[in-house]
Subunit: 419 residues, 2 copies
Amino acid sequence: MEQNAVYEEVMDLCRRAKAHSARLAGARAEVKNRALCLFANFLRENASVILQANARDLSNAAENGVRDTMLDRLRLTEARIEGMAKGVEDIAALPDPVGKGECWTRPNGLAIRRVRVPMGVVGVIFEARPNVAADVAALCIKSGNAVVLRGGKEAIESNRAITALARRALAQSGLAAEAVQLIENTTRASSEALMQMRGCIDVLVPRGGKGLIRAVVDNARVPVIETGAGNCHLYVHSAADLTKALRIAVNAKISRPSVCNACETILVDAEVASEFLPMLKKAMDENHCEIRGCERTREILPNVVSATEEDWETEYNDLIIAVKVVSSVEDAVSHINRYNTGHSESIVTNDLSAAEYFQSAVDAAAVYVNASTRFTDGGEFGFGAELGISTQKLHARGPMGLTALTTEKYLVTGDGQVR
Amino acid sequence: MEQNAVYEEVMDLCRRAKAHSARLAGARAEVKNRALCLFANFLRENASVILQANARDLSNAAENGVRDTMLDRLRLTEARIEGMAKGVEDIAALPDPVGKGECWTRPNGLAIRRVRVPMGVVGVIFEARPNVAADVAALCIKSGNAVVLRGGKEAIESNRAITALARRALAQSGLAAEAVQLIENTTRASSEALMQMRGCIDVLVPRGGKGLIRAVVDNARVPVIETGAGNCHLYVHSAADLTKALRIAVNAKISRPSVCNACETILVDAEVASEFLPMLKKAMDENHCEIRGCERTREILPNVVSATEEDWETEYNDLIIAVKVVSSVEDAVSHINRYNTGHSESIVTNDLSAAEYFQSAVDAAAVYVNASTRFTDGGEFGFGAELGISTQKLHARGPMGLTALTTEKYLVTGDGQVR
């Protein structure tokens, strides 16, 4: 019964979003941009309101024994709010993806246009960071989509304050406030309800950990784009420049271990293992990063922990790295294709055919030669803001810019043609 | 236990397809085309074998009391086999979608290529027509994908004969026969198993009726592209040329009532209803097509059956049409957006703003002005062969050509860049 009530509540929000999606879908770029600039200003002007809401979240979270790293993700500051506002303005400055397309005329005179149009209503389930609410609302407004947000319970007060400002900005721009909805019920039942909203939600994007993504993929009856899980590998080939390889390895693992494009396993070719592994060990020690090695690794680095099957599967998001010695590029590819999550993979080599084989055979959104996996990012690829990194093959793969939030539509004009 | 055995069997076929998918994915266009031309020749040379297999299907179906229209869909003839072979050759002649893309260089020197690559393994669940097996196998080979086919039980002997020839053609071209798999178990358990093959099946396409599509959407844990359900509308606007409107109405309903782009409901503007409806009634009578009308329709055509809520929702696939009188283009759009399946919708009008409003506000893959909905088709749009008509917004919408069977991949080449 309680669950039914939650379902009804979520359905009501989704229907309201859908009912008001057409106006946003048809809005001109200049109107959407005006709404975004207003939203950015409102974020700045209401920083103290947002910080008060955030303080309530933080104190609730502390009472509930939330860990410090989580508290840090949850915490907003003046600077972080300014970052959010700037992010919204950056999105306003991007080109509008809607209305772009191609056209052609058929022999029978039918004029066909294939144009990008908004999806309609986007659902996003996300975890603790409240800046996601501002980011996602802005990306959806820019791409002409209504959005139903379902954030984590830890950030509910912050999310409420932020989405209220987005709604006010829409209303003041002559668009519909109802095009941004926040599900205030943060029980599991509300995210499960959102996954069932066929006919209301055109695409659902889970932004969070493996458990969330798994739950969405297993239960959703609406179309889903999976994002974020990144079990990324770096393969140091026998023809690698080992100095470059070391620099890339350190960057890929150490620069930001908690993100999805960080490296989790380093594969080292047997031919260079005895030279490279001691270099790697030294660098990882300096960065307080634990190595877990296969048996061949431990023959060279006897003091490292033994890696288990679970290590090959794990996205540590931490200062731990798995290391495995492999016998060939084929071995490396086969290990990667078995354990990776389709995110980012890299080879360090000066051998052209090894590089080409690796790029062709590895099944992932981004496959690098002589560069860090950390570059898989909308900004780094030149797309501007991103909604997330898609690890699926359908619709969008890799960093998703605004275009990933659109679909296409055929507009066909004739003067009485029949078939 | 039985169900477990089916699951294991399906998983085994999917794994074999996946294990051999890389060779096909990396094959040059000329090699794939050679395999397709061989396949076409094998179909012609083995016509008698295929016809014998088909005769067994037909006699089993007749014994099981399958209806005549279904038997007709199941039946192969020399001419239909020639059509299949020609279809495969047409697919061979299309441009290869694999390897196309864009490239750019980032300020830090990273060279980024975004290229189309095969999905990997495509699953297709289809119903009675055995030509689908040849068609789908050819589209998948051309686009570099392995395929797992699960046809209906009625056509199992025909499907087995046809896929055996596709496999032989692959093997003789130096590709892997295992890249085409047919699930010979045609119980419901086998299609349910196929829907669960995460990690093996990259995309699943159901080709068939509403029930099949619904079952797939509700149960699949692999990415799905919905195809085929078409509750299409024709709206005769107040500013329509009624002669054109009538010609389009007859074509959209009568030319082939069983297909998904046939029209199911005609909406008639109140301003022209008293003139248009008698014209429509006469034409439909001549074509033995039953009209089911709303109350306002029955004021003008008192002898037609009364339409119920169910009629607005129904894809008849038959010589029946629902007719509703509406008060405005907004009314028409709101009826369409409530009942349509996102396939094809058409307005007949000479009023520019009505036409533009209709094309913008109607939520469907193809929105027509002054033309029949029957044009929504890969061939008619100029794409060549199609895998089906997608009625979803994710990944592919409308007629799906070869590109819909590919995804993209970022190939990034540097010389030691770190972030």
